[in-house]
Protein backbone atom coordinates (compact mmCIF):
# COMPACT_ATOMS: atom_id res chain seq x y z
CA UNK A 1 0.00 0.00 0.00
CA UNK A 2 2.86 2.35 0.89
CA UNK A 3 4.50 1.70 -2.50
CA UNK A 4 1.14 2.30 -4.18
CA UNK A 5 0.73 5.65 -2.34
CA UNK A 6 4.23 6.72 -3.32
CA UNK A 7 3.71 5.67 -6.95
CA UNK A 8 0.50 7.72 -7.19
CA UNK A 9 2.15 10.73 -5.53
CA UNK A 10 5.18 10.58 -7.84
CA UNK A 11 3.04 10.14 -10.98
CA UNK A 12 0.68 13.02 -10.12
CA UNK A 13 3.58 15.23 -9.01
CA UNK A 14 5.45 14.65 -12.28
CA UNK A 15 2.32 15.27 -14.37
CA UNK A 16 1.58 18.55 -12.56
CA UNK A 17 5.21 19.63 -12.96
CA UNK A 18 5.21 18.61 -16.65
CA UNK A 19 2.06 20.74 -17.13
CA UNK A 20 4.22 23.85 -16.69
CA UNK A 21 6.47 22.87 -19.61
CA UNK A 22 4.27 20.80 -21.95
CA UNK A 23 1.22 22.81 -23.11
CA UNK A 24 -0.79 19.66 -23.97
CA UNK A 25 -0.63 18.59 -20.29
CA UNK A 26 -1.89 21.93 -18.95
CA UNK A 27 -5.51 20.67 -18.92
CA UNK A 28 -4.57 17.63 -16.87
CA UNK A 29 -2.55 19.84 -14.54
CA UNK A 30 -5.56 22.12 -13.97
CA UNK A 31 -7.76 19.08 -13.31
CA UNK A 32 -5.39 17.74 -10.64
CA UNK A 33 -4.99 21.16 -9.04
CA UNK A 34 -8.81 21.52 -8.89
CA UNK A 35 -9.04 18.13 -7.19
CA UNK A 36 -6.36 19.26 -4.75
CA UNK A 37 -8.36 22.40 -3.93
CA UNK A 38 -11.49 20.34 -3.26
CA UNK A 39 -9.46 18.03 -1.01
CA UNK A 40 -8.02 21.07 0.79
CA UNK A 41 -11.62 22.22 1.43
CA UNK A 42 -12.49 18.83 2.89
CA UNK A 43 -9.29 19.01 4.96
CA UNK A 44 -10.63 22.24 6.49
CA UNK A 45 -13.68 20.33 7.76
CA UNK A 46 -11.47 17.57 9.16
CA UNK A 47 -9.26 20.24 10.71
CA UNK A 48 -12.24 21.77 12.49
CA UNK A 49 -13.10 18.28 13.75
CA UNK A 50 -9.55 18.05 15.09
CA UNK A 51 -9.92 21.45 16.78
CA UNK A 52 -13.15 20.33 18.48
CA UNK A 53 -11.56 17.03 19.51
CA UNK A 54 -8.48 18.73 21.07
CA UNK A 55 -10.51 21.30 22.99
CA UNK A 56 -13.19 18.75 23.95
CA UNK A 57 -10.41 16.64 25.50
CA UNK A 58 -9.17 19.69 27.42
CA UNK A 59 -12.64 20.33 28.82
CA UNK A 60 -13.12 16.65 29.72
CA UNK A 61 -9.79 16.52 31.61
CA UNK A 62 -10.40 19.98 33.15
CA UNK A 63 -6.95 21.14 32.04
CA UNK A 64 -5.61 24.69 32.49
CA UNK A 65 -7.56 27.04 30.22
CA UNK A 66 -10.46 24.64 29.70
CA UNK A 67 -12.84 27.59 30.15
CA UNK A 68 -11.39 29.14 27.00
CA UNK A 69 -11.75 25.81 25.21
CA UNK A 70 -15.45 25.73 26.15
CA UNK A 71 -15.83 29.31 24.92
CA UNK A 72 -14.13 28.39 21.65
CA UNK A 73 -16.42 25.41 21.02
CA UNK A 74 -19.56 27.39 21.93
CA UNK A 75 -18.53 30.26 19.63
CA UNK A 76 -17.68 27.82 16.87
CA UNK A 77 -21.09 26.11 17.02
CA UNK A 78 -22.99 29.40 17.39
CA UNK A 79 -21.18 30.93 14.39
CA UNK A 80 -21.73 27.74 12.37
CA UNK A 81 -25.44 27.50 13.17
CA UNK A 82 -26.18 31.20 12.55
CA UNK A 83 -23.97 31.24 9.45
CA UNK A 84 -25.75 28.15 8.13
CA UNK A 85 -29.24 29.55 8.80
CA UNK A 86 -28.69 33.20 7.86
CA UNK A 87 -25.92 32.96 5.26
CA UNK A 88 -22.49 34.62 5.42
CA UNK A 89 -23.75 37.92 3.91
CA UNK A 90 -26.47 38.51 6.51
CA UNK A 91 -25.94 41.75 8.54
CA UNK A 92 -25.80 39.76 11.81
CA UNK A 93 -22.95 37.62 10.46
CA UNK A 94 -21.18 40.70 9.12
CA UNK A 95 -21.54 42.23 12.59
CA UNK A 96 -19.83 39.17 14.12
CA UNK A 97 -16.93 39.59 11.70
CA UNK A 98 -16.67 43.38 11.98
CA UNK A 99 -17.49 43.59 15.68
CA UNK A 100 -15.54 40.63 17.06
CA UNK A 101 -13.01 39.07 14.69
CA UNK A 102 -11.57 42.25 13.17
CA UNK A 103 -11.10 44.10 16.52
CA UNK A 104 -9.57 40.99 18.16
CA UNK A 105 -7.07 40.61 15.31
CA UNK A 106 -6.33 44.37 15.45
CA UNK A 107 -5.68 44.06 19.21
CA UNK A 108 -3.29 41.19 18.61
CA UNK A 109 -1.52 43.34 16.01
CA UNK A 110 -1.12 46.08 18.62
CA UNK A 111 0.24 43.56 21.14
CA UNK A 112 2.61 42.36 18.43
CA UNK A 113 4.07 45.87 18.08
CA UNK A 114 4.79 46.04 21.82
CA UNK A 115 6.15 42.47 21.80
CA UNK A 116 8.58 43.34 19.01
CA UNK A 117 9.90 46.39 20.86
CA UNK A 118 10.38 44.26 23.96
CA UNK A 119 12.11 41.54 21.90
CA UNK A 120 14.46 44.13 20.41
CA UNK A 121 15.45 45.35 23.88
CA UNK A 122 15.89 41.76 25.08
CA UNK A 123 18.12 41.01 22.08
CA UNK A 124 20.87 43.25 23.47
CA UNK A 125 20.75 41.38 26.79
CA UNK A 126 20.79 37.96 25.16
CA UNK A 127 23.19 38.37 22.21
CA UNK A 128 25.35 41.43 22.57
CA UNK A 129 27.40 41.16 19.39
CA UNK A 130 28.14 43.34 16.38
CA UNK A 131 25.26 41.95 14.29
CA UNK A 132 22.71 42.60 17.03
CA UNK A 133 23.93 46.19 17.39
CA UNK A 134 23.78 46.71 13.59
CA UNK A 135 20.27 45.17 13.56
CA UNK A 136 18.96 47.49 16.25
CA UNK A 137 20.70 50.64 14.95
CA UNK A 138 19.30 49.96 11.46
CA UNK A 139 15.78 49.46 12.85
CA UNK A 140 16.09 52.73 14.79
CA UNK A 141 17.37 54.66 11.75
CA UNK A 142 14.51 53.33 9.59
CA UNK A 143 11.96 54.24 12.27
CA UNK A 144 13.36 57.75 12.70
CA UNK A 145 13.49 58.17 8.93
CA UNK A 146 9.88 57.05 8.45
CA UNK A 147 8.06 58.53 11.45
CA UNK A 148 6.55 62.01 11.66
CA UNK A 149 8.59 63.65 14.41
CA UNK A 150 7.28 66.63 16.47
CA UNK A 151 10.40 68.68 15.75
CA UNK A 152 10.35 67.99 12.01
CA UNK A 153 12.38 65.73 9.79
CA UNK A 154 16.00 64.91 10.64
CA UNK A 155 18.16 66.18 7.75
CA UNK A 156 19.26 63.48 5.24
CA UNK A 157 17.75 60.63 7.30
CA UNK A 158 14.39 60.36 5.52
CA UNK A 159 15.57 61.50 2.11
CA UNK A 160 18.97 59.79 1.71
CA UNK A 161 19.93 57.35 4.49
CA UNK A 162 16.62 55.46 4.83
CA UNK A 163 16.08 54.96 1.07
CA UNK A 164 19.69 53.83 0.67
CA UNK A 165 19.39 51.29 3.48
CA UNK A 166 16.00 49.92 2.36
CA UNK A 167 16.57 49.98 -1.39
CA UNK A 168 20.23 48.99 -1.56
CA UNK A 169 21.42 47.16 1.57
CA UNK A 170 18.16 45.58 2.73
CA UNK A 171 16.90 44.76 -0.76
CA UNK A 172 20.22 43.16 -1.71
CA UNK A 173 20.30 41.14 1.51
CA UNK A 174 16.66 40.09 1.13
CA UNK A 175 17.29 38.92 -2.43
CA UNK A 176 20.24 36.85 -1.26
CA UNK A 177 18.13 35.27 1.48
CA UNK A 178 15.27 34.61 -0.95
CA UNK A 179 17.62 32.91 -3.44
CA UNK A 180 18.80 30.63 -0.61
CA UNK A 181 15.20 29.91 0.44
CA UNK A 182 14.19 29.18 -3.17
CA UNK A 183 17.07 26.69 -3.53
CA UNK A 184 16.05 25.04 -0.25
CA UNK A 185 12.45 24.78 -1.47
CA UNK A 186 13.62 23.32 -4.78
CA UNK A 187 15.58 20.49 -3.16
CA UNK A 188 12.80 19.85 -0.62
CA UNK A 189 10.29 19.64 -3.48
CA UNK A 190 12.54 17.25 -5.39
CA UNK A 191 12.88 14.98 -2.34
CA UNK A 192 9.08 14.84 -2.00
CA UNK A 193 8.66 14.35 -5.75
CA UNK A 194 11.02 11.38 -5.74
CA UNK A 195 9.39 9.97 -2.56
CA UNK A 196 12.65 10.24 -0.59
CA UNK A 197 10.64 12.34 1.87
CA UNK A 198 7.06 11.11 2.24
CA UNK A 199 4.85 13.36 4.34
CA UNK A 200 1.95 11.05 3.43
CA UNK A 201 1.21 7.53 4.53
CA UNK A 202 3.25 5.09 6.53
CA UNK A 203 6.85 4.43 7.44
Amino acid sequence: MRVFNAAIAIAIGLLVLAGYFVPSLAGLQTLFLNWAMILAGVAALVGIGNLISVHGEKIRKRETGSVYSALLILSLFATFVFGFLLGPDHPAMQMVVNGVIVPVEASLMAILAVTLIYAAIRLLRRRLDLMSVIFLVTALVILLGSASLPFGEIPLLGTTVRPWITQVLALGGARGILIGVALGMLTTGLRVLTAIDRPYGGK
Binding site: G47, N50, L108, V181, L183, T188, R191, I196, Y200
Partner: protein
Protein backbone atom coordinates in the same frame (compact mmCIF):
# COMPACT_ATOMS: atom_id res chain seq x y z
CA UNK B 1 13.52 26.25 -20.69
CA UNK B 2 16.13 27.26 -18.11
CA UNK B 3 13.70 26.25 -15.32
CA UNK B 4 13.32 22.74 -16.75
CA UNK B 5 17.10 22.36 -17.13
CA UNK B 6 17.62 23.55 -13.52
CA UNK B 7 15.06 21.05 -12.20
CA UNK B 8 16.40 18.11 -14.22
CA UNK B 9 20.06 18.85 -13.38
CA UNK B 10 19.21 19.31 -9.68
CA UNK B 11 17.24 16.07 -9.63
CA UNK B 12 20.02 14.06 -11.27
CA UNK B 13 22.61 15.62 -8.97
CA UNK B 14 20.46 14.91 -5.92
CA UNK B 15 19.97 11.25 -6.84
CA UNK B 16 23.65 10.79 -7.74
CA UNK B 17 24.95 12.39 -4.53
CA UNK B 18 22.41 10.45 -2.44
CA UNK B 19 23.69 7.21 -3.97
CA UNK B 20 27.36 8.16 -3.49
CA UNK B 21 26.89 9.26 0.13
CA UNK B 22 24.65 6.43 1.28
CA UNK B 23 27.39 4.98 3.51
CA UNK B 24 29.45 8.05 4.46
CA UNK B 25 28.96 10.45 7.36
CA UNK B 26 28.27 14.01 6.18
CA UNK B 27 30.64 16.79 7.26
CA UNK B 28 28.51 19.78 8.23
CA UNK B 29 29.47 23.20 9.53
CA UNK B 30 28.08 23.85 13.01
CA UNK B 31 24.80 25.80 13.13
CA UNK B 32 24.22 26.84 16.78
CA UNK B 33 20.41 26.58 16.53
CA UNK B 34 20.51 23.02 15.23
CA UNK B 35 23.15 22.00 17.78
CA UNK B 36 20.84 23.33 20.47
CA UNK B 37 17.91 21.48 18.92
CA UNK B 38 19.89 18.26 19.25
CA UNK B 39 20.43 19.02 22.95
CA UNK B 40 16.74 19.88 23.40
CA UNK B 41 15.77 16.47 22.04
CA UNK B 42 17.96 14.75 24.64
CA UNK B 43 16.60 16.95 27.41
CA UNK B 44 13.02 16.25 26.39
CA UNK B 45 13.57 12.48 26.61
CA UNK B 46 15.50 12.66 29.90
CA UNK B 47 13.20 14.89 31.93
CA UNK B 48 9.88 13.73 30.52
CA UNK B 49 8.90 17.00 28.90
CA UNK B 50 7.71 17.49 25.34
CA UNK B 51 8.73 19.44 22.26
CA UNK B 52 6.33 21.84 20.62
CA UNK B 53 6.90 21.87 16.87
CA UNK B 54 5.08 24.60 15.02
CA UNK B 55 4.83 24.09 11.27
CA UNK B 56 3.41 27.50 10.40
CA UNK B 57 0.53 28.22 8.09
CA UNK B 58 1.97 27.63 4.62
CA UNK B 59 -0.69 26.01 2.44
CA UNK B 60 0.58 23.11 0.38
CA UNK B 61 -1.11 24.50 -2.74
CA UNK B 62 0.76 27.78 -2.47
CA UNK B 63 4.35 28.82 -3.06
CA UNK B 64 4.91 28.62 0.70
CA UNK B 65 4.38 24.85 0.72
CA UNK B 66 8.12 24.13 0.46
CA UNK B 67 8.77 25.52 3.93
CA UNK B 68 5.90 23.44 5.33
CA UNK B 69 7.24 20.28 3.70
CA UNK B 70 10.66 21.01 5.18
CA UNK B 71 9.06 21.42 8.61
CA UNK B 72 7.22 18.10 8.18
CA UNK B 73 10.47 16.42 7.25
CA UNK B 74 12.12 17.72 10.45
CA UNK B 75 9.02 16.73 12.47
CA UNK B 76 9.36 13.14 11.32
CA UNK B 77 12.90 12.85 12.68
CA UNK B 78 12.11 14.77 15.87
CA UNK B 79 9.30 12.30 16.59
CA UNK B 80 11.56 9.32 15.99
CA UNK B 81 14.14 10.70 18.41
CA UNK B 82 11.69 11.67 21.14
CA UNK B 83 9.38 8.67 20.90
CA UNK B 84 10.94 7.28 24.07
CA UNK B 85 9.83 10.36 26.03
CA UNK B 86 6.90 10.13 28.46
CA UNK B 87 5.20 13.00 26.71
CA UNK B 88 4.75 12.94 22.94
CA UNK B 89 5.73 16.02 20.92
CA UNK B 90 2.91 18.32 19.85
CA UNK B 91 2.73 19.79 16.34
CA UNK B 92 0.61 22.87 15.60
CA UNK B 93 -0.28 24.17 12.15
CA UNK B 94 -2.28 27.01 10.68
CA UNK B 95 -3.40 25.14 7.58
CA UNK B 96 -5.86 22.20 7.69
CA UNK B 97 -4.09 20.06 5.07
CA UNK B 98 -0.79 20.65 6.86
CA UNK B 99 -2.39 19.63 10.17
CA UNK B 100 -3.55 16.36 8.60
CA UNK B 101 -0.09 15.71 7.22
CA UNK B 102 1.44 16.47 10.60
CA UNK B 103 -0.79 13.78 12.15
CA UNK B 104 0.28 11.33 9.46
CA UNK B 105 3.94 12.26 9.98
CA UNK B 106 3.66 11.83 13.75
CA UNK B 107 2.03 8.43 13.26
CA UNK B 108 4.72 7.39 10.76
CA UNK B 109 7.44 8.46 13.22
CA UNK B 110 6.00 6.28 15.98
CA UNK B 111 5.53 3.35 13.57
CA UNK B 112 9.16 3.65 12.47
CA UNK B 113 10.33 3.23 16.06
CA UNK B 114 7.88 0.42 16.81
CA UNK B 115 5.91 2.50 19.28
CA UNK B 116 2.59 2.72 17.38
CA UNK B 117 0.56 2.57 20.59
CA UNK B 118 2.04 5.88 21.83
CA UNK B 119 0.63 7.87 18.90
CA UNK B 120 -2.20 10.24 19.83
CA UNK B 121 -4.13 11.94 16.99
CA UNK B 122 -4.63 15.05 19.12
CA UNK B 123 -0.89 15.76 19.09
CA UNK B 124 -1.14 16.99 15.48
CA UNK B 125 -3.32 20.08 15.80
CA UNK B 126 -4.89 22.77 13.72
CA UNK B 127 -4.46 25.76 16.02
CA UNK B 128 -6.16 28.38 13.84
CA UNK B 129 -6.75 29.28 10.24
CA UNK B 130 -5.76 32.95 10.10
CA UNK B 131 -2.31 34.27 11.07
CA UNK B 132 -3.35 35.62 14.46
CA UNK B 133 -5.78 32.82 15.33
CA UNK B 134 -2.96 30.38 14.54
CA UNK B 135 -0.66 32.25 16.92
CA UNK B 136 -3.39 32.55 19.57
CA UNK B 137 -4.04 28.79 19.36
CA UNK B 138 -0.36 27.86 19.60
CA UNK B 139 0.42 30.14 22.56
CA UNK B 140 -1.40 28.08 25.26
CA UNK B 141 0.23 24.88 23.97
CA UNK B 142 3.68 26.34 24.62
CA UNK B 143 2.66 27.75 27.99
CA UNK B 144 0.53 25.01 29.54
CA UNK B 145 1.59 21.64 28.17
CA UNK B 146 4.94 20.95 29.88
CA UNK B 147 7.04 21.92 26.88
CA UNK B 148 10.84 22.05 27.16
CA UNK B 149 11.63 23.54 23.73
CA UNK B 150 9.63 25.46 21.16
CA UNK B 151 10.67 24.55 17.61
CA UNK B 152 9.24 26.68 14.79
CA UNK B 153 9.99 25.42 11.30
CA UNK B 154 7.76 26.43 8.41
CA UNK B 155 6.01 29.44 6.95
CA UNK B 156 5.35 32.14 9.56
CA UNK B 157 4.69 35.83 9.48
CA UNK B 158 5.51 38.46 12.13
CA UNK B 159 2.79 36.89 14.35
CA UNK B 160 5.44 34.31 15.27
CA UNK B 161 6.69 36.89 17.82
CA UNK B 162 3.55 36.23 19.91
CA UNK B 163 4.29 32.49 20.13
CA UNK B 164 7.93 33.19 21.01
CA UNK B 165 6.89 35.69 23.68
CA UNK B 166 4.58 33.07 25.17
CA UNK B 167 7.55 30.67 25.36
CA UNK B 168 9.82 33.33 26.86
CA UNK B 169 7.36 33.94 29.69
CA UNK B 170 7.83 30.37 30.89
CA UNK B 171 11.59 30.28 30.12
CA UNK B 172 11.33 27.94 27.16
CA UNK B 173 13.97 28.37 24.43
CA UNK B 174 12.73 28.92 20.88
CA UNK B 175 14.50 27.70 17.78
CA UNK B 176 12.97 29.09 14.66
CA UNK B 177 13.36 29.24 10.91
CA UNK B 178 11.03 30.48 8.21
CA UNK B 179 10.95 31.31 4.52
CA UNK B 180 9.42 34.77 5.06
CA UNK B 181 12.00 37.58 5.10
CA UNK B 182 10.09 39.87 7.48
CA UNK B 183 9.44 36.98 9.87
CA UNK B 184 13.14 36.13 9.77
CA UNK B 185 13.85 39.62 11.12
CA UNK B 186 11.29 38.97 13.87
CA UNK B 187 12.86 35.59 14.68
CA UNK B 188 16.33 37.16 14.75
CA UNK B 189 15.17 39.60 17.41
CA UNK B 190 12.85 37.38 19.40
CA UNK B 191 14.07 33.77 19.18
CA UNK B 192 16.99 32.48 21.22
CA UNK B 193 18.27 30.50 18.25
CA UNK B 194 17.16 31.83 14.87
CA UNK B 195 17.79 30.01 11.60
CA UNK B 196 18.59 32.54 8.90
CA UNK B 197 17.93 32.10 5.19
CA UNK B 198 18.09 28.54 3.94
CA UNK B 199 19.42 27.15 7.25
CA UNK B 200 15.89 25.93 7.97
CA UNK B 201 16.14 23.54 5.02
CA UNK B 202 19.30 22.02 6.52
CA UNK B 203 17.53 20.77 9.65
CA UNK B 204 16.97 17.28 8.21
CA UNK B 205 20.66 16.80 7.41
CA UNK B 206 21.67 17.87 10.92
CA UNK B 207 19.09 15.59 12.53
CA UNK B 208 20.53 12.63 10.64
CA UNK B 209 17.58 12.19 8.29
CA UNK B 210 19.65 10.34 5.72
CA UNK B 211 22.04 10.86 2.80
CA UNK B 212 19.38 12.58 0.64
CA UNK B 213 19.26 15.50 3.06
CA UNK B 214 23.02 16.06 3.08
CA UNK B 215 23.02 15.61 -0.72
CA UNK B 216 20.35 18.35 -0.87
CA UNK B 217 22.74 20.73 0.87
CA UNK B 218 25.46 20.02 -1.71
CA UNK B 219 22.98 20.54 -4.58
CA UNK B 220 22.00 23.88 -3.00
CA UNK B 221 25.69 24.85 -2.75
CA UNK B 222 26.36 23.93 -6.39
CA UNK B 223 23.33 25.92 -7.57
CA UNK B 224 24.30 28.85 -5.34
CA UNK B 225 27.79 28.99 -6.86
CA UNK B 226 26.30 28.84 -10.35
CA UNK B 227 24.00 31.77 -9.51
CA UNK B 228 26.96 33.74 -8.09
CA UNK B 229 28.87 33.03 -11.30
CA UNK B 230 25.94 34.15 -13.49
CA UNK B 231 25.53 37.33 -11.45
CA UNK B 232 29.23 38.19 -11.70
CA UNK B 233 29.42 37.42 -15.42
CA UNK B 234 26.21 39.40 -16.00
CA UNK B 235 27.55 42.36 -14.04
CA UNK B 236 30.86 42.18 -15.93
CA UNK B 237 29.11 42.07 -19.33
CA UNK B 238 26.85 44.95 -18.33
CA UNK B 239 29.90 46.95 -17.15
CA UNK B 240 31.61 46.37 -20.50
CA UNK B 241 28.45 47.35 -22.35
CA UNK B 242 28.08 43.92 -23.99
CA UNK B 243 24.70 43.02 -22.44
Amino acid sequence: MIELVTIVVSLLLLLLLTFIRRKSTPKLRPIPALTRLYRAIGLSVEDGTRLHISLGRGGLLTGRGGASLSGLSALRYLVERTSASDRPPVATSGDPALALLSQDTLKAGYQATGADELYQPTTGRLSGMSPFSFAAGAMPVVRDENVSANVMLGDFGPESALIIESAERVNIPTLGGTDDVSAQAVLYAAAQEPLIGEEMFAAGAYLGAGPAHSASLTVQDVLRWLIVLFLLVGAGLKFLGLF
